[in-house]
Symmetry: C2
Subunit: 238 residues, 2 copies
């Protein structure tokens, strides 16, 4: 039985993703208008429109009536904490960052497997704290393949005012598209307890995140320890 080819709007969607991955349009840029894209792909505007709507639903592009269709960017205020689901119980207060360290090391087996690297390939490790109302609530450790983040240092991170993902985008051309998280409750190690100012062994929410760029390529492994005393992780199911 001959397999039905993917519908035209899906093919066009994939072509646009490929163009995004190739950097034809950068985050924040406007895409060509619907008629222009329809011309380029030899389809009707309705079909192109469908492809763009799918991309908008995936948060790869953002549509603005009267203005155009734009490549999503983490630099935008609304996207700032797009992947951070921790909210204060009273919904108030924002985060401040404290960088703990940034160093180069060789991937452990676990990190290599997650990121699709060979063991002992170089990765960059970043550690930091997030505070809310002066109290530490999140201890983040993240690992990045060095080949995509060459030259990342503590100074660069400290010198950037926005979110980490905005920095990655602006400086290394790596845009995070989606992520997968695994949550567990764990007991605070002595080190984590000290940094988060909780008793040793206190329950913490462990959030292991694998983040992907265009084309489902994993480019960041992150492990967060959340102190859920006055904050909680919010999730909407449907």
């Amino acid at each position: 039985m001959p397999k039905t080819p993917a519908p035209l709007y899906e093919q066009i969607r994939q072509l646009i993703v490929a163009a995004l991955a190739a950097g034809e349009w950068r985050p924040g840029d406007a895409l060509p208008s619907e008629p222009a894209l329809a011309e380029r792909f030899g389809a009707s505007t309705g079909t192109v429109r469908r492809a763009l709507d799918e991309l908008a639903a995936e948060n790869l592009v953002e549509r603005r009536q009267g203005s155009g269709t734009f490549v999503s960017t983490h630099a935008e205020p609304r996207q700032q904490f797009r992947f951070l689901r921790l909210v204060a119980d009273d919904e108030a207060g924002s985060f401040t960052r404290e960088l703990l360290g940034c160093r180069r090391l060789r991937a452990t087996a676990e990190i290599a497997r997650a990121l699709g690297l060979r063991t002992s390939e170089p990765v960059i490790e970043v550690r930091r704290l997030l505070h809310r109302r002066g109290r530490p609530v999140v201890l983040d450790e993240l690992w990045l393949p060095e080949r995509h983040f060459e030259g990342l240092t503590a100074e660069i991170i400290e010198g950037h005012p926005g979110a980490l993902y905005a920095l990655f985008e602006a400086r290394f051309g790596v845009h995070m598209v989606r992520a997968q998280e695994k949550l567990r409750a764990v007991a605070a190690t002595p080190e984590a307890a000290g940094l988060l100012r909780v008793p040793e062994g206190a329950p913490l929410l462990s959030v292991e995140r694998l983040a992907f760029t265009y084309g489902d390529r994993p480019v960041e492994l992150r492990r967060g320890l959340y102190h859920t005393g006055a904050d909680h992780y919010r999730n909407d199911l449907n």
Copy 2:
């Protein structure tokens, strides 16, 4: 400045939701065909189609090519554990249920607030365990407004083979549409520790869920304690 009226497809969407809430079509039923609905609402099939597509995206209906559009039901195998995000680290093994109790009581202030009841209105409390590979992994406590679940007893729960939400749907006509969860890491109380067979004070994942039926009416408050030793809570972000 005169506010633009909601687009036609959105008005139609809301009319269909109202019909679902009124029970015009029950879970599992087929909706009328697109041309029939277009006739009923005085719109083109394209517009009705858009309304149905939105409802399908919200999981209120399910579309089956060649067959029709059907009201979603938790009785269907794929929907069985639609809201349960706990998966085994090795992705294998399924759950078995053990009912611990079912009793009638008066709503505490917290339960009343969450469910939009007056304090001390009657609610039904259900407690149960979920096991995987013979080990207890989830301790659930849930509270339901009695006025929507009149006559619910342990016998009824034990006599029903499928998921709780399928039972609620079949017996009480209450279909759960979406839910909101708040996650925290907590220390096991003596009782929870005993039931989940972990040491007292061991870290557990607390999952507080508020579930809604058609029209965003909250009809269930649930608190789960998950033992995340060999399982984790999975969440996909985009």
